[in-house]
């Protein structure tokens, strides 16, 4: 219940945060909403020497349109995303995903950047940002770089963030044309984490055939991933029952599914298949 001692800094700017982090890249941790880190600290599984609280950098919390992109600041809370009218209009997958994270208290304080940087294997955001093909903007002592979501999630709780780097922004290409979306999840009855979570971004041709399907999967493997097998199987199809049934089978291709007390690996795969289908059907049904 009680964390080990640490030092605390609340820089006013991101630059300050980067230089603080550079002072001790191993012992320092970035604190955003704290909803992944603080529970681990209370169990003393994480004992950082220094917490750099970026929650006070006001300029890091935003949702805005810029050209054909949606820019989301790292410390934007789940609730801000859930309740954003702009996003409901132009990128409804994000609010839908946000709504299924944890509970209202967690959504009020937890941040999208914290969640993505922590890369919990059962976190919700990784699935959504993968499905939306997001770019993640990382800033470090040597400047800024952009990493594709697909390359960002490396392994269990392990990302492309180099020591000393901070996730600053999530950039998403504004969905255009005829698109549908869905995030469907089996929450663990105790923790609320995704046993399986499927995010779908679906683009249709004028004849209602599938132009492109992007599917982010969380909960199934040690890290979130794009279900390329499903995506490839759907491309060009009419998205009818048979096409979806044929495609859903590929959702666990190439991954070694997790197995735990609640769900064995083959049951998890079954859930992934079923929820892939349900998410696809839901996405198809809400195409504008």
């Amino acid at each position: 219940m009680i964390p080990a001692q640490f030092d605390y800094q609340a820089p006013a700017t991101l630059e300050e945060a980067v230089s603080l982090l550079a002072s001790d890249p191993d012992g320092a941790k970035i604190l955003a909403g704290g909803h992944s880190l603080i529970p681990a600290m209370k169990l003393r599984l994480a004992q950082p020497q220094l917490l750099i609280d970026i929650g006070r950098i006001k300029s890091l919390a935003y949702i805005r349109e810029e050209g054909d992109q949606i820019l989301i600041g790292a410390t934007t809370t789940h609730y801000q995303l859930e309740s954003s009218d702009l996003l409901k209009r132009i990128c409804p997958l994000l609010p839908e995903c946000a709504k299924s994270i944890g509970d209202v208290q967690v959504r009020n304080k937890g941040t999208i950047g914290g969640s993505i940087a922590h890369s919990d294997p059962a976190g919700d955001w990784p699935a959504a940002v993968l499905a939306l093909g997001a770019d993640l903007v990382l800033v470090g002592p040597h400047g800024e770089r952009t990493v594709k979501a697909e390359e960002f999630f490396v392994d269990l709780l392990t990302t492309a963030l180099e020591p000393g780097e901070i996730l600053r922004e999530i950039r998403i290409k504004k969905p255009s044309g005829r698109f549908g979306h869905a995030y469907q999840k089996v929450p663990h009855p105790a923790s609320g984490f995704a046993v399986v979570g499927i995010a779908v971004h679906l683009e249709l041709n004028d004849d209602n055939s599938c132009k492109a399907a992007a599917i982010g999967v969380t909960g199934v493997s040690v890290k979130a991933y794009r279900a390329k097998g499903v995506e490839n199987a759907l491309a060009g199809t009419s998205l009818d029952t048979d096409a979806i049934a044929a495609a859903e089978k590929h959702v666990c291709d190439g991954v070694d599914p997790n197995s735990d007390l609640y769900a064995s690996s083959d049951y998890r795969c079954q859930l992934a298949r079923v929820y892939t289908r349900r998410a696809l059907q839901a996405a198809k049904a809400n195409v504008q």
Binding site: A40, R44, L45, D155, L156, L157, D256, D260
Partner: protein
């Protein structure tokens, strides 16, 4: 918890075996191993600072090599205790000469206790797999060098990157 799998290393079996019984190499390959001191024949005192993401712990304990049958088999037995609990494990490693290197088949049993056991339920298996992968990836890099050459650099992050690129290659190979 059972842990098993196979790894393909691009090095000759004898070389891989040498690496496995070389404490200096082992120290570099075991993720987070800060100290590996010989205390008796094939027995070492070890300090391992390891973890995933922000979850970290320090373990002190012993590592032992058993059932040495060069160049085809050995068993590694580890036992450590630390702030987040304890970990114990043993793994049998079988080395086979394969087409372009060595195929290692491992079968082990890992036990954890204390906090990590009671709170880390959904992550333990993933962590163990990840550590095994890191170990064998590093081992592969070590074995790819010749005796007397400087060892490869493979800190935690580099190892992960190397493993990641290897994984990407594998994906492409499959397709």
């Amino acid at each position: 918890m059972k842990l098993d799998g196979t790894h393909q290393l691009e090095a000759a079996r004898e070389r891989v075996y040498q690496c496995l019984v070389d404490p200096e190499v082992l120290q570099r390959c075991i993720p987070g191993c800060e100290r590996l001191e010989k205390t008796a024949e094939n027995t070492f005192a070890a300090t391992i600072r390891t973890g995933v993401g922000s979850i970290k712990g320090v373990f002190n304990g012993t590592a032992r090599l058993e059932d040495l049958r060069e160049p085809e088999h050995l068993r590694i037995v580890v036992d450590g205790k630390g702030t987040p609990g304890f970990l114990k494990g043993s793994g049998d490693l079988d080395l086979e000469q394969a087409e372009n290197g060595t195929k290692i088949t491992y079968a082990g049993d890992v036990q954890v206790g204390g906090t990590i056991a009671s709170v880390g339920q959904r992550m333990i298996q993933g962590t163990a797999k990840m550590m095994a992968t890191q170990f064998f990836t590093s081992l592969g890099a070590e074995a790819a060098t010749q005796v007397g050459e400087p060892p490869p650099q493979h800190g935690f992050f580099r190892t992960a990157l190397r493993w990641f690129s290897g994984w990407l290659k594998n994906i492409f190979r499959k397709q």
